[in-house]
Subunit: 205 residues, 2 copies
Amino acid sequence: MPPRQPRPPGAEPTSFPDLSASVGDRIKDLRTQRGLSLTALAAATRLGKGTLSELERGQRNPTLDTLFAITTALSVPLGDLLVATSGDLGPGRPPGPQAHGQNIDAELIGRWTEPAELVEVYRMTVGQGRRQSPGHTAGVIESITVVSGEVAVGPTDDPAHLTSGQSHTFPGDQDHVYEGLAHHSTTVLVMRYPLTPETTGDHHE
Amino acid sequence: MPPRQPRPPGAEPTSFPDLSASVGDRIKDLRTQRGLSLTALAAATRLGKGTLSELERGQRNPTLDTLFAITTALSVPLGDLLVATSGDLGPGRPPGPQAHGQNIDAELIGRWTEPAELVEVYRMTVGQGRRQSPGHTAGVIESITVVSGEVAVGPTDDPAHLTSGQSHTFPGDQDHVYEGLAHHSTTVLVMRYPLTPETTGDHHE
DNA sequence: CCCTAGCGTTCTATGAACAGAACGTTCCAT
DNA sequence: ATGGAACGTTCTGTTCATAGAACGCTAGGG
């Protein structure tokens, strides 16, 4: 569907139902592609689910903040909402942008490839308590920066104790632990996966 | 869900623009490029010129309709406003001691509010050379994690030397430096702006 | 000196975007 | 059947983006 027509002078000054509708369609496509419910996307974006419901049906005129919250949760560039061309979102990426643990939530906010590695950036919130993580694929390196709260992270036998503003880097391919020491902690997690020839890169600048 | 950005009184706009500010800068650039006054652009877009004035200064959170009206009047694609975080960082700010300068690109990939602060996450790429950054608004804290390459960052008089996987945290409200030591470096930058309850609005009703 | 004309900013009222709760539905488990 | 869990929709009150007017500023002309 054409996203919209450049409105000739004399048309309605307010509200372009075409535009809102096409953006809404696009959001719904992206959401369902990932198998997310409205409730899940609402949680990931921190938007009201009523808001999303009406947005998807073109009954709202979203603000820039709202659009940005949605695109980052869905990990697409902002422009992707505005070119309603039914662009499929590239290869893989079935799992969706966020993962749940009892105590841990991770939302993918950035992902790109370097010459020799794939980089993913997560916003991770950690509730109080300890959580073991088995090693991931070989060669993975994790860097965590604490935004708020207090955590102990790192190799199971030698975790680092971090508070606001502190960072730590450790190998992600051996068992490690995330332990929330405050009631609620927010962190930024950078994961770097060595690029094997099979791991085909993704797009996005 | 992000309620509203902090706009500390009397402070210059940050040179790591938040989303609204960067879009505002972009609009102003495009408008002045064309020799248009606010009044003229208001007429062309059928928006209030007060609206445009505040938009350009990052004091509003425009809706999709508003953005569309502006882009069509200026005949640029909508996406042109939204990638405004790429490119030069801080419009022509510092004639400082930068040797090669300008070689910095920052893309906003995450943004949310904590109870007491606004958090922004950038993917920042740094070319070789040194770049001074003037202090941003009071209380800002920056944390940088190097993904690839090699940089020296921090307070101008005491920068830290970082390579892949290393991180550093420093106050962003005093002069600091970003220096790329490798030909090309990629980093993740976390900026935290204190949210003081009263700085939310410059006017009240 | 006024005056007027253009500029960008600030003010005021209104309507809409928003969060969150309440609702109706469907689909399981018991 | 009955409960409850998940879904998407609708409702309600609050916040904020918007239009347009009023304002202050800087010329330039008579």
